[in-house]
């Protein structure tokens, strides 16, 4: 991978609390990378290290061939979109956007056209002379975005920029953001705690857990092939099955299935099985090809059924009373026992790791 930004074994402590440990991450040019994590996982700290507002205790950050972590923030070719926008209240929208250009001594004649093009990009041309306090949250968001972009940074850092917006506006801004990123081709590093947002926007997701990178992969891969139980639970919903493995067969709660691959290890293993990978038999249209090895069937008692629009979420009890979540296409009221099946390949073996 031809990497633009390279984070090498970075660690950061605040007082005695280790916020980040052994973070190594390469970001490719033009990539949309999302740093995803719960609050307190260190994701904002990581972003602030790249921007230069914090210094790492150890490790290095490089951009192309330049060492970044020893430079003060104003010497770095990165720009940030702040969580609370941080627009200058004493300057007009125009002057806010022109700020970076003036600082970098861009030719005076060039400034108005660049600012106007930037404003046009987010359809805000008419607000050129307004003070930021006159704008709505979404409008301020757009100004903050182009104020950073107009400087043509090599990397744009976005610190939960959509978290202050209401749900509808948020979805709209997600689409705009994604389109904008494709249009300008600048590398985006986006921080969020919202896994749906991360899935919708990113080329790759870096999942951060208590200061350590849990998994870095594309949204599809991280969803379909979660490496750890934590990842499987954090991204989407899942069932975690603790199974006894021997001779290539896993058994959990009375259900047995053949494990993909040739491993003949024995012992206990954890599997992640997404609710939508389980089908209710009888509802299932014939002719759909099953994964290799044929489906695994089991009977279970339906405990609850939650209507969710296009799909229903069932909670079913297995023979040992452990429960399993099953997502099926919307269905009339279901009761009693039913037969279910899933493809063995959909039960993904995951590591069970404690936050170290």
């Amino acid at each position: 991978m031809n990497s633009l930004l390279s984070i090498r074994d970075v660690a950061k402590k605040f007082q005695n609390r280790e916020v980040l440990r052994g973070i190594s991450l390469d970001v490719a040019s033009g990539e949309f990378l999302t740093i995803l994590g719960e609050s307190g996982s260190g994701k904002t700290t990581l972003l602030r290290l790249i921007a230069g507002f914090e210094q790492p205790d150890s490790g290095e950050i490089w951009m192309a061939d330049e060492r970044l972590d020893t430079l003060p923030p104003h010497r770095r070719h990165v720009n940030t979109v702040f969580q609370s926008y941080a627009l200058f209240p004493h300057l007009s929208v125009f002057e806010n956007i022109a700020y970076g250009l003036r600082v970098q001594h861009v030719a005076k004649a060039e400034i108005p056209s660049r600012v106007e093009r930037a404003l046009a990009m987010v359809k805000m041309a008419e607000f050129e002379h307004s003070p930021p306090s006159r704008l709505s949250g979404g409008q301020q968001q757009r100004v903050a975005l182009v104020r950073a972009l107009v400087n043509r940074p090599q990397v744009l850092l976005l610190d939960e920029p959509l978290s202050a917006l209401d749900a509808n506006l948020r979805r709209q801004m997600q689409i705009e953001l994604k389109l904008l990123q494709r249009e300008v081709g600048i590398t985006f590093i986006f921080v969020t705690h919202d896994q749906e947002e991360a899935m919708a926007l990113s080329d790759r997701i870096a999942l951060l857990r208590a200061g350590v990178l849990e998994q870095v992969a594309s949204p599809r891969e991280i969803y379909v092939r979660p490496a750890t139980a934590y990842t499987a639970k954090f991204i989407g919903q899942t069932n975690l099955l603790r199974a006894q493995v021997s001779g290539g067969v896993a058994t959990a709660s009375g259900i047995s299935w053949r494990i993909a691959g040739t491993s003949s290890e024995s012992g206990v293993a954890t599997f992640s099985l997404r609710p939508e990978c389980i089908r209710l038999l009888g509802q299932f249209a014939p002719g759909v090809r099953m994964a290799d090895g044929g489906p695994v069937r089991f009977r279970a008692r339906i405990k609850t059924q939650t209507f969710g629009g296009a799909t229903d979420l069932l909670e079913v009890a297995l023979s040992d009373e452990s429960s399993l979540r099953v997502r099926i296409p919307s269905h009339g009221s279901l009761q009693g026992e039913a037969e279910f099946e899933f493809a063995p390949a959909d039960a993904v073996s995951v590591r069970e790791s404690e936050p170290n």
């Binding site: 104003h74 941080a86 600082v103």
Partner: protein, 282 residues
């Protein structure tokens, strides 16, 4: 929200207070300023503009007024020059010892004005601490007289006394500058110096203006510092008012000067408020 009765109950005590202790005395003073003192040293209720005419015609009053304004201007500038860096340091640089430093600035305000005035007298006098020190170092052979009883002494004393008054509003406005604006400015490529001039300083201007107003208005009306350390050349307009109401027994003229000052200060405050409105960006 609140009933009329509630609003009236809350509003009446301060209104009464202001009326009895401010508006009525001012009205009486206003009347006095149009009356006269007869040759027999009796105040006669003969209405005229003579006192105001005297105010403009007699160069002594205008001269002292201009001197007072010059002193007030100098004190304002010095107090801002001392108060702003202090406030900036406390707000942006002092991290752990912030509270301690803040208290150190505030504590002098608890000490009586008179004590502080006398302290300067002890320092600046001909056998004072400063002269003693200079002679000890053989920098001067005789006590330097102009330290005390001069406009210089008045400016020094008042700067010392009113610097906390400029510090406090500036500190408050600096504390209200969102720190992410400072980060945003650096993020956009601005050096710390540029960030200060283009972001921090403009946003702290309301505090600077409030501090300057405090220092200027309080200095303009001060009479203790000139009395203690000013001497004849350091006399200010309030000293004249005091002597007119006291020894000279010319209440009408004293009232006229007071009113002239009042108009001046109110006009100034009015102006400041208009500028301040332009400067606030919330």
């Amino acid at each position: 929200m609140y009933t009329r009765a509630y609003k009236a109950t809350v509003a009446i005590p301060p209104l009464l207070w202001v009326t009895i202790f401010l508006l009525i005395p001012y009205a009486i003073l206003f009347c006095y300023s149009f009356w006269q003192v007869s040759p027999l040293q009796v105040i006669v209720h003969a209405w005229s503009f003579d006192n105001y005419r005297e105010l403009v015609r007699n160069p002594v009053y205008l001269e002292v007024l201009f001197r007072s304004m010059r002193i007030a201007g100098a004190v304002t500038i010095l107090a801002l020059l001392l108060g702003y860096p202090l406030a900036y340091f406390l707000s942006f640089c002092a991290t752990r010892r912030k509270d301690l430093f803040y208290q150190l600035v505030i504590i002098p305000l608890w000490v009586s004005y008179l004590v502080r005035g006398y302290a300067w007298k002890t320092i600046l006098g001909s056998d004072g601490v400063l002269n003693g020190f200079l002679q000890y170092l053989h920098i001067t052979s005789h006590p330097v007289e102009f330290f005390l009883y001069s406009p210089f002494a008045v400016i020094l004393t008042l700067t010392h006394i009113y610097t906390p008054f400029t510090f406090l509003p500036i500190y408050a406005s600096l504390e209200h500058v969102p720190r992410n604006l400072v980060e945003a400015s650096q993020d956009l490529g601005a050096s710390p110096f540029r960030t200060f001039w283009h972001v921090v300083f403009p946003l702290s201007l309301p505090g600077v203006l409030a501090g300057a107003t405090f220092a200027f208005v309080l200095t303009l009306g001060d009479f203790l510092a000139p009395l203690l350390v000013g001497g004849p050349s350091g006399i200010m307009i309030s000293n004249i008012v005091v002597s007119l109401f006291g020894a000279a027994y010319n209440w009408p003229l004293g009232a006229a000067i007071s009113f002239g000052m009042l108009v001046l200060v109110v006009a100034l405050l009015f102006l400041v408020e208009r500028v301040e409105k332009k400067l606030s960006f919330s």
